[in-house]
């Protein structure tokens, strides 16, 4: 794909990114940050691509390290966001009931 086409997509993505979160309420700041954090774990696709083309040992080793790190970002990110939102919802019907988490 040509450079200008990719640049076009990139600029559109900037505007979409600005737009989708511009009206978030402050209670959702942390879960939203955590969810966005999980989404950039998609670098896993890049790490898999590099590992799948690796021909010598040390390139493969570093690429596999990238796969491990990216998977931790992706899987851990979505799980921890779900935990946050679960707690956040569970706290509403019974205020204070789960406040002893500390």
């Amino acid at each position: 794909m040509g450079g200008v086409e990719v640049l076009t997509i990139l600029v559109f993505a900037v505007f979409v990114g600005f737009e989708v979160v511009s009206k978030v309420s402050s209670i959702l700041h942390t879960p939203l940050m955590s969810g966005a954090n999980a989404i950039h774990g998609i670098i896993l696709v890049g790490a898999i691509t590099v590992a799948g083309q690796a021909e010598d040992g040390w390139v493969l080793a570093l690429a596999l390290l990238a796969v491990v790190l990216a998977t931790a970002n992706l899987v851990g990110g979505f799980v921890v966001t779900d935990r946050m939102l679960e707690m956040f919802r569970g706290r509403r019907p019974a205020p204070g009931a789960k406040e002893d988490a500390r």
């Binding site: 989404i39 696709v45 799948g52």
Partner: protein, 281 residues
């Protein structure tokens, strides 16, 4: 090499990546509203699953057993930690996950450098040095925020005489190294750039006080997004460009919103201690 022929042609690959990108947009949109937040997160995970299946079906990959094993290891480490973490420790876990994502992006860029050989690949090398530098800053910066939140180190702003000068020198050296990597494609110089990026990440976060750390995590999260977008340019993968840019843009806005909710400005948080004024700690 036991790479088999890809099952998906480029059109189907592009369409599936588009579906994944739409899932990510819907995820961010869902996460912005209290009613749909949890479903939004699941839609994001669905998008990631679609993208993962697509990459395995669409490219001629070698080393597949190794890759699957590495994915299993990463998931086996991260999922239980994420499931068991105490609520009060969630911010540092997010910082940790953000940091490893930045580290993964930097590694991907480093490994792609030898493939960006031709002189007309100058802009690819530019994207590589950007990913290396920003990914390294995000990795090291996130490590320091983790240490601060986990109270492995003082949560007070850490400053010392000459910190601004040192930071300036590191950034200048990083720019010089980046220019040299773009010009020569040298891998050893890229490793030097990586090291300078790590140092810059540490120096950037040290002067930030404990109360401001969540805002810095959000900023570093946006940084990792940008690094992932640049790695998408390097690999010619539109999904990485879109997902990374989405996170970079929404993360920037979110950082400003978070700072505003605390009555602080991002510039003040990042550079307040440099100017001698204290940041909240």
């Amino acid at each position: 090499m036991t790479a088999s022929a890809p099952l998906l042609d480029p059109t189907w690959t592009a369409l599936l990546y588009l579906a994944a990108a739409v899932c990510f947009i819907l995820a961010l949109k869902g996460l912005s509203s209290p009613k749909h937040a949890r479903r939004g997160n699941l839609v994001g995970a669905l998008g990631a699953a679609i993208a993962l299946v697509t990459v395995f079906l669409s490219s001629r990959l070698a080393n597949i057993p190794w890759i699957l094993a590495a994915i299993a290891v990463g998931a086996a480490i991260a999922a239980p930690v994420a499931r068991r973490v105490k609520m009060t420790q969630m911010p540092q876990l997010v910082a940790l996950f953000n940091g490893v994502g930045g580290g993964a992006a930097a590694l991907v860029a480093l490994l792609e450098l030898p493939h960006a050989g031709a002189p007309e690949d100058g802009w690819v090398r530019l994207a590589i040095v950007f990913t290396l530098l920003v990914g390294a800053v995000s990795f090291a910066g996130s490590a320091v925020t983790f240490a601060k939140l986990q109270e492995l180190m003082t949560t007070r702003p850490v400053t010392f005489l000459g910190l601004p000068v040192l930071m300036g020198a590191v950034l200048l050296a990083a720019l010089a190294a980046a220019g040299a990597v773009v010009a020569t494609g040298s891998v050893p110089l890229a490793v030097v750039l990586l090291a300078l990026g790590l140092l810059a990440g540490v120096l950037l976060v040290l002067p930030v006080g404990g109360a401001d750390v969540p805002i810095v995590i959000s900023l570093l999260n946006a940084f990792t997004g940008l690094a992932v977008a640049a790695s998408g340019l390097v690999l010619g993968n539109v999904l990485l460009v879109v997902a990374g840019t989405l996170v970079g843009a929404s993360g920037t806005i979110l950082t400003r919103l978070m700072a505003a909710a605390m009555g602080r400005s991002v510039v003040h948080i990042m550079f307040g201690a440099f100017r001698g004024g204290s940041t909240a700690g």
